[in-house]
């Protein structure tokens, strides 16, 4: 069996590497190495990880087309689920440690702070994508409708970057780099979108 056909090995590799950042955070937490403000660190780390996995998910199509790595497509939903997983961790960190589980204060926070509203919206859009990530749901929706629904990933990625940009006080280097990567990945799709069958005469 060659590397490019060994689905089980790929799956194990991706599952492990997706969990690796979480394990590193937990080891650091256990050893008290998360710095003076652990809550801030974990909030930031999980938010960035969610965005990183969104970007890796969006990289699958261009990599597959450029290098013929069709095996990668079978891991894409897992990558998307990791984006959701770290998004959940990000939200839980906020609810547990920033809001102290005072959930009634979240509404006011969303209304008063636009960056939180944007983040919540991006997260909410990931929920239908995570729910429909099973084989059974693809079958139920039909491949075409499923693919259409999952283009919401583009909106989530833009929302995630805007959310990141809005929290930065003045040094915007990181969100700008993330933004440029997302623009490139979405631009690739725009440039390679299926051409209409009938062209209008000039």
């Amino acid at each position: 069996m060659t590397f490019s056909t060994d689905f089980k090995f790929h799956r194990a590799l991706f599952v492990f590497h997706g969990l690796l950042p979480l394990m590193l955070i937990l080891v650091d937490a256990w050893r008290g190495n998360l710095g003076a403000n652990p809550v801030e660190f974990v909030t930031r780390a999980t938010g960035v990880l969610s965005l990183v996995f969104l970007i890796i998910t969006l990289l699958v199509t261009p990599l597959r087309k450029a290098f013929g790595w069709n095996w990668l497509l079978k891991q894409r939903r897992l990558l998307g689920l990791y984006a959701f997983f770290y998004g959940v961790a990000h939200l839980l960190t906020y609810l547990a440690f920033d809001r102290d589980w005072q959930l009634q204060t979240v509404v006011g926070d969303v209304l008063k702070r636009p960056f939180i509203a944007v983040g919540m919206l991006a997260f909410a859009l990931m929920i239908p994508l995570a729910v429909t990530s099973t084989n059974a749901m693809i079958k139920k929706l039909g491949g075409k409708r499923w693919a259409q629904l999952h283009r919401l990933t583009y909106v989530v990625a833009i929302g995630g970057v805007v959310h990141y940009y809005m929290i930065e006080k003045s040094d915007i280097r990181y969100p700008v780099v993330f933004g440029m990567v997302v623009v490139l990945l979405l631009g690739y799709r725009l440039a390679n979108r299926p051409k209409p069958l009938v062209r209008t005469a000039k």
Partner: protein, 263 residues
């Protein structure tokens, strides 16, 4: 020594001190880095001696102090709460002297109403300062009565030691009832003036940072809730106090002012 009157005005603070390593390892000093955990290493070789602090503007005795002269001014130990606008806080045992002492040595003119401060700036010593995203040198300001208030300190140390570079060595302002960014670091210039001076964060984002920037749990902020704070070294959050708990000492300075407008 402080007079009995001055001492009586100082509140007693029975809160656990923040660990020295946290105070010296978690710093907002954008000239060196915008990463709070990176500042200490980047400021390690910052030259703080020789130093000169110039006092000019509306004073009868404009003068320049060198470091020795500043360190000769009789110092006191003051433990204050420190509340950052980002929603975290510390309890810091400062060493320093009241700013009023320094200003009196320059003899402010009667027209003076405000005090402007400026931080040292040199791109050679602060090579990452271009990424700060704020105009430098960093400037801050106070009303003269705020500057002359007995709580307002010029700090030259903490925990009985010389002030670490990352905390604003060799001399910085400490205004305990205002958000931390008002407590300007590594001061080289103090100018007495008759108008409200510009302040760096207000210039960068006027909707978020006002001239006064008094700690106020009732005035919300578009990034951070100001109702509660996270004390560094503790789990959970605690209520933020009006004027950071110094209302008895400073509330009279703002009598009749709408603090939602003058945030």
């Amino acid at each position: 020594a402080e007079t009995a009157g001055e001492a009586a005005e100082l509140p007693v603070l029975n809160e656990k001190l923040t660990a020295f390593d946290d105070i010296a390892g978690y710093n907002n000093f954008y000239e060196f880095s915008t990463s709070k955990s990176a500042v200490a290493a980047k400021a390690k070789n910052f030259i703080t001696n020789p130093w000169s602090l110039q006092i000019d503007g509306l004073v009868n005795q404009p003068r320049t102090f060198d470091l020795d002269e500043l360190l000769k001014i009789e110092s006191v130990e003051r433990t204050y709460r420190f509340r950052c606008v980002e929603g975290w806080s510390m309890v810091i045992p400062w060493v320093g002297f009241p700013l009023s002492k320094l200003l009196s040595m320059a003899d402010p003119k009667s027209q003076a109403t405000h005090v402007a401060f400026e931080t040292y700036y040199d791109i050679k010593q602060m090579p990452d300062s271009g990424y700060a995203g704020i105009d430098l040198p960093y400037v801050e300001g106070l009303r003269l009565d705020e500057a002359m208030h007995p709580l307002t300190l010029m700090a030259t140390g903490l925990y009985g030691k010389t002030l670490p570079n990352q905390n604003g060595a060799p001399i910085r302002l400490v205004v305990p009832w205002k958000y931390g960014f008002k407590s300007i670091k590594s001061v080289v210039k103090i100018t007495l003036t008759d108008k409200e001076p510009p302040i760096t964060w207000n210039l960068a984002n006027p909707n978020e940072y006002g001239f006064y920037s008094n700690v106020n749990p009732e005035v919300s902020h578009p990034r951070w809730s100001q109702a509660r704070e996270r004390r560094i070294g503790e789990g959970g959050t605690r209520e933020t106090l009006m004027f950071n708990g110094y209302a008895d000492q400073v509330a009279h300075l703002y009598a009749g002012m709408d603090l939602r407008v003058n945030y």
